[in-house]
């Protein structure tokens, strides 16, 4: 499974949606994922890819990890996998 598909699967599970309903330009807010859901998704992503995501819930826009859409999250994870490989 590609990084993209796996991330979409994780986000879809959190949002209680089918993966086909999660598009690349969806925002977490549109998908109904709140702050706890976000933290839980990041945990699932870290476990799935064995990476560490630099995310602090107090300053979500400050870290390098961009959570503004599904596409930016996937891009961020691909970068982290490359860096932490």
């Amino acid at each position: 499974m590609s990084v993209k598909d796996k991330v979409i699967e994780i986000i879809a599970e959190q949002a209680v949606l089918e993966p086909s309903d999660v598009t690349l330009d969806s925002t977490l807010e549109e998908l109904g994922i709140d702050s706890l859901g976000l933290v839980e998704s990041i945990f699932a992503i870290e476990e799935a890819f064995d990476i560490s995501v630099p995310f602090n819930a107090n300053e979500p826009t400050q870290s390098d990890f961009d959570i503004s859409s599904v596409a930016t999250i996937i891009a961020g994870i691909e970068k982290l996998i490359a860096e932490q490989a």
Binding site: D34, S35, L36, V39, S52, N56, A57, N58, E59
Partner: protein, 402 residues
């Protein structure tokens, strides 16, 4: 209804191992937060905390006690001994029969849990010390205080996460106010700075990796602390009759529940607790000069709390002071309200307002006088102590100069 006063105070926390040292540190705006010294700290992402350093428990407790006292119990007894020595009350006869200990605590014997989980899970051993249960149960501290000081009335532990101490002290206050007890020992305690305790908090991603900067625009989370605060609450006429030194009067309290979210705070829930405490103490909002904030240094708490205070106090919000001493002693979770009550006593008794240290940048969403970085002298008649816990459980106490 009886009036209730504080006749004894004791503490141990990262700022000091007694009340005078702690208050001196608060006056100086000293920071008790530093690098954590604990096993496997290299496996933690959060490596700072407000730890009690240079604590020689073996010098204070005998071998048998050490076998039974988790660190949170040790802290409690240190604070209780100081409070009881100051109060000068001897508990015997009828007084002893009615007086008890109500303490706030969240995690119980976390050090004991951590060590013994290691023993069975990591080291693969199949045997643990026989005292693990009596050592880790979170009423252990209250029980040992009752034993040491012959308190035979109602004793128990209150757990409401970060509001545990305030809920506990509110309960003790009620008991004395209604005449159920003449005196109660109360406060709170916590010792969660062990690998498992910090790791659990780390998971929530609300912890700062560098400092606790409440209300500052660049705040980035909370920092855990540890320790205890213990007080003697006594019926006022009883205290006066025996010539006891009165530190302050507890004049009211209120509790509320957000009934909304397990972690996100609610402005309405906080505001109802603050307004409720004023009503219970029969205070006008203009009477309040100082609020010891819950002020965790998280994005969510600080703006919600400021907004709740602005709602309750209206224009007076701009003339009162509100600081978060967590910037210095960290967040003691179940013990935090007890240590923070000391800052309220210092405000009404000594006219010294503890600062919010680490304050670097104003935040328009926290536009109150947060007493940035330096303590201030001020004539304060009434102080409030806020506590707003995970789970949406709020408790606010009102303190008054006597």
């Amino acid at each position: 209804m009886k009036r209730v006063v504080i006749t004894g105070a004791g503490t141990i926390n990262a700022l000091g191992q007694n009340v005078p040292d702690t208050l001196a540190a608060m006056r100086e705006g000293r920071c008790g937060i530093g690098e954590l010294d604990l096993r496997d700290v290299d496996r933690l992402a959060v490596k700072i905390g407000a730890q009690v350093k240079n604590f020689e428990a073996e010098a204070l407790f005998n071998r048998q006690q050490m076998a039974l006292f988790d660190r949170f119990t040790q802290f409690t007894l240190v604070a209780a001994r100081e409070a009881m020595a100051q109060a000068g009350l001897e508990f015997s006869g009828e007084l002893a029969a009615k007086s008890g200990v109500v303490l706030g605590n969240s995690g119980g014997g976390m050090q004991t849990l951590d060590e013994n989980y290691r023993t069975v899970y990591e080291d693969g051993k199949n045997r643990v010390h026989p005292f693990v249960v009596p050592k880790l149960m979170n009423n252990a501290a209250a029980s040992h205080v009752s034993m040491e000081f012959n308190l035979k009335g109602p004793s128990f532990t209150v757990a409401s996460a970060c509001a545990s101490s305030n809920h506990a002290m509110a309960q003790a206050f009620q008991m004395v106010r209604t005449g159920m007890a003449t005196a109660m020992v109360t406060g709170g305690t916590e010792s969660m700075l062990c690998f498992g305790g910090v790791k659990a908090w780390e998971g929530l991603r609300v912890m700062s990796k560098d400092a606790c900067r409440p209300f500052s625009a660049n705040r980035n989370g909370m920092v855990q602390g540890e320790g205890a605060g213990v007080f003697v609450f006594e019926e006022m006429e009883h205290a006066k009759a025996r010539g006891a030194e009165i530190l302050a009067e507890i004049s009211g309290f209120a509790m509320s529940s957000d009934a909304a979210d397990i972690v996100m705070p609610s402005k309405q829930g906080a505001a109802r607790a603050i307004a409720g405490a004023l009503a219970d103490a029969r205070l006008n909002r203009e009477d309040v000069g100082y609020i010891n904030a819950h002020g965790t240094g998280t994005a969510a708490n600080d703006k919600t709390e400021c907004s709740a205070v602005a709602d309750v106090f209206g224009p007076h919000a701009d003339s009162l002071m509100m600081s978060s001493t967590k910037s210095m002693h960290g967040h003691l979770i179940g013990g935090t309200g007890a240590v923070e009550l000391l800052a309220c006593i210092m405000a009404v008794r000594d006219g010294v307002i503890a600062p919010t240290i680490g304050y670097e940048e104003p935040d328009p969403e926290c536009a109150l006088d947060v007493v940035p970085n330096e303590a201030r002298e001020a004539d304060v008649e009434v102080a409030l102590s806020n506590a707003f816990a995970f789970g949406g459980l709020n408790a606010v106490l009102a303190l008054r100069r006597v």
